[in-house]
Amino acid sequence: MSKSNKHHMGIRTLNRVSNGAIYTLLAIISIIWLIPFVFIVLQSFRVENTYQVGYVIPQQWGFQNYINLWNSDFKRWYLNTFIIALAAAVLQTVIVLCMSYTLSRFRFKLRGPLMRFMLILGMFPGMLTMIILYRVLADLGLTQANAVPGLILVSVASSGMGYYVSKGFFDTIPKSLDEAARVDGATRLQVLTKIILPLAKPIVIYTILTAFMGPWGDYVFARYVAFGTSSGYNVAVGMYSWLTNDQIDRMYTTFCAGGVIVALPVTILFLCLQKYYVEGVTGGAVKG
């Protein structure tokens, strides 16, 4: 009796020690993961100098960097990115849902070859197509100052290739629901709008969220298309130019302020919809 009790105690202390170690580790991890962001926020309020320094907490606090931001092209870049993100969120979602619903629900002759073909297409580096897409957009007059519609067009046009996650979700909705509705005389369109879409709310929100977040980080093609014309930049291209060797000493703290302004709304939106994001990622990424 006493022996087993002792054994039990041993496990409990062991458990407590290991839990303590885990808490410590998790705390350290949390600090490492948050620290750069805390630094960005702190440095965005630094007014005594604008270059990189060896300390984090500002000696003089102020909003000078945010005022600089307001007086720069940043407003325009922000608006550009916001428009692209909004358009992408609507159009990409429609296209991705069309594609994934079809591939999940319909069995037609070319379905297998189509999916295999898209898999192979996906193996080509997307960057390869930039050169020609740029020239085509240039011919259409959708580059430089008019980069925004061009970027929307390109980002939406091929978005059907990213159907995997939401197809994985549609696959989990039982097909018997469709069949029951079909027996009752509903057309396929009615099945989609009346039965599947209401059930697919999480994946719809997930798709909207990821489509909206994408353009905020889009750099390469945006740079290609805007091609040195500031009014056609998105935030990533514009702010990247602040960190080049000849600008960084003047613009470093402004970059930090810009980072805060860009990250804040996206992060808040994300945290509000976190549940759906997690659902989409865990459900869809695995099924591939």
Binding site: P125, M127, D171, M213, Y240, Y252, G259, V266
Partner: protein, 529 residues
């Protein structure tokens, strides 16, 4: 798995491991032997797999040839046996449909034919005829009668010829397909009417677009987008690999470009020194090696560390689970270019970390060469990638970890398995099985992970040996960032970028093919449903 191991019972243990073992024989091997055996078996299966691939390819070609012959036979038969409506439809598409009352279909067919003919006469014929040469006359100095001065006169445009030439070929293929459809429909309609059945009315046709043919309606827009903005550019760029299209031959304002056959592949794979530096093939080999090492390390460090973090948070008795998760998930939300650029500058020579260590704390006298030493840079890139990737992996693995049946662990514990044994015997196999497909996509995704490399280092530090190669090649450059560098700058060797892009495709496709054939969980899509 066990099925593949053959039926050779009771093989000698000391004998060659190349032999195929039965289940019993396999189980009698030691751990090391099992490991070697698996690897050997994998390599032994490669010739068979490659052979199988070609056999499959041959079968596909044969099937295609047979179906083509059948098609031609069928078309001929339709023409011979068809009535005058069908016969006329061979030349005026949709005539049969209209004559038999399916006006909507007929008009669409006819419209397509008219558009095609008009296009071919006005433009398509020209583009197609120029395609073999990619333009005959480049820009020249000449007299402009309108402006009454001497200026540069522009003539052919190689870029447009290639682009619209490809488009025209797409268009012709579409016409042939539509024409075949038109013939088929005439044949069917004739047969239906002969059998006394009714043809579908226009109204029924329209209704079917939201019902049994709803998939066609849904796919029309996405597939058009993919065709125009992905398939066509890829075909175009593959063709560019066989031309000399670059900054000095931009096809319009300076020189035309033209077909050069396999020259560009020879350039990339040749051993001759390029511009005083090492050969292209050596540069390419170095970058490819680093790309593969990077993809491997980036995938698996993230995978195992992310799983580790998820397991820590999931452990029974750990409180505030939601808070730990939210802290990590929050970092997913912040656009990568901000975090990557910021961290990149943080580790720079005169960045926050070096300045703090040097000036504020006085621990070092020289800045640490995070981005200036090849090894430092590579290690730093991988570490920062861990920082970027763990939250995402944590999310993915958390869900799967929670799905592992708890009684598996319970019985393992009763059998006296310690935590490590539970991990290697239960958690890891389960995880690897479920996340196999994800690991593959993540590996290939990392091979093409432009953002992390470009925003962190831009490929730096520069590799002086590769100075002769296009673009400035650095030690952290992946194939994809190299490709980007090749296409920018004054020289803009687009043809070389195309060749590199094709190489990336070949490598990715090979790896996917191998993994696809080894992993059990990718193969059957329907199993998940």
């Amino acid at each position: 798995m066990s099925k593949n191991r053959g039926s050779n019972t009771g093989g000698s243990r000391i004998g060659s491991l190349l032999k195929e073992y039965s289940d019993a024989g396999y189980l009698r091997l030691s751990k090391l032997q099992k490991f070697i055996y698996k690897i050997l078996r994998f390599f032994c299966s490669i010739p068979r797999a490659v052979g199988g691939f070609f056999v499959k390819l041959g079968r596909i070609v044969k099937k295609a040839a047979i179906s083509l012959a059948d098609n031609i036979k069928d078309i001929g038969a339709t023409f011979v046996h068809g009535d005058w409506k069908t016969k006329t439809s061979f030349f005026i598409m949709g005539f049969g449909n209209i004559a038999r009352g399916q006006v909507l279909r007929g008009i669409l067919f006819l419209l397509f034919e008219i558009v095609f003919i008009v296009y071919m006469i006005t433009a398509g014929g020209y583009w197609l005829s120029m395609l073999p040469s990619l333009g005959k006359q480049g820009p020249e100095q000449g007299y402009d009668p309108v402006l009454d001065t001497y200026t540069t006169l522009y003539h052919d445009n190689s870029f447009k010829i290639l682009l619209y030439g490809v488009l025209t070929i797409f268009f012709i293929i579409a016409l042939i397909y539509t024409w075949r459809l038109n013939v088929e429909q005439n044949k069917l309609a004739e047969k239906y009417l002969k059998d006394g059945k009714k043809l579908k009315s226009d109204k029924e046709d329209l209704r079917s677009m939201v019902d049994e043919n709803f998939y066609k309606t849904l796919l029309a827009l996405p597939l058009t987008g993919i065709l125009v903005f992905t398939v066509m550019p890829i075909v175009f760029m593959i063709l560019v690999a066989f031309t000399n299209y670059d900054g000095a031959h931009n096809g319009f304002s300076n020189n035309l470009f033209t077909w050069v056959g396999l020259d560009n592949f020879n350039t990339l794979l040749s051993w001759q020194s390029a511009g005083g530096g090492q050969s292209y093939s050596a540069t390419f080999g170095e970058i490819l090696a680093w790309t593969l090492i990077w993809a491997f390390l980036a995938t698996f460090t993230n995978y195992f560390l992310g799983m580790f973090v998820a397991m820590m948070i999931n452990k029974r008795g750990i409180k505030l689970k939601k808070m730990w998760r939210t802290i990590l998930v929050m970092t997913v939300a912040i656009p990568q270019f901000i975090s990557l650029l910021y961290v990149s500058k943080m580790f720079a020579k005169n960045g926050l970390i070096n300045l703090t260590l040097k000036d504020t704390l006085g621990w070092i006298s020289q800045p640490l060469p995070f981005w200036d030493d090849p090894t430092w840079a590579r290690v730093t890139v991988i570490l920062i990638n861990v920082w970027i990737g763990i939250p995402y992996l944590m999310l993915i693995t958390t869900g799967i970890l929670m799905n592992i049946p708890a009684d598996l662990y319970e019985s393992a514990r009763i059998d006296g398995a310690n935590a490590w044994q539970q991990y290697t015997k239960i958690t890891l196999p389960y995880m690897l099985f479920i996340t196999g497909p994800y690991l593959l996509t993540s590996f290939t995704g990392n091979m093409n992970n432009f953002n992390v490399i470009y925003l962190l280092t831009g490929g730096a530090p520069t590799n002086p040996k590769a100075s002769g190669a296009a673009g400035s090649v650095g030690y952290t450059d992946l194939l994809i960032t190299w490709l980007f560098k090749i296409t920018t700058g004054a020289e803009s060797q687009y043809y070389l970028a195309s060749v590199v892009g094709i190489m990336v495709f070949v490598v990715v496709a090979l790896i996917s093919l191998i993994v696809y054939n080894v992993l059990p969980s990718i193969k059957n899509e329907e199993d998940f449903q």
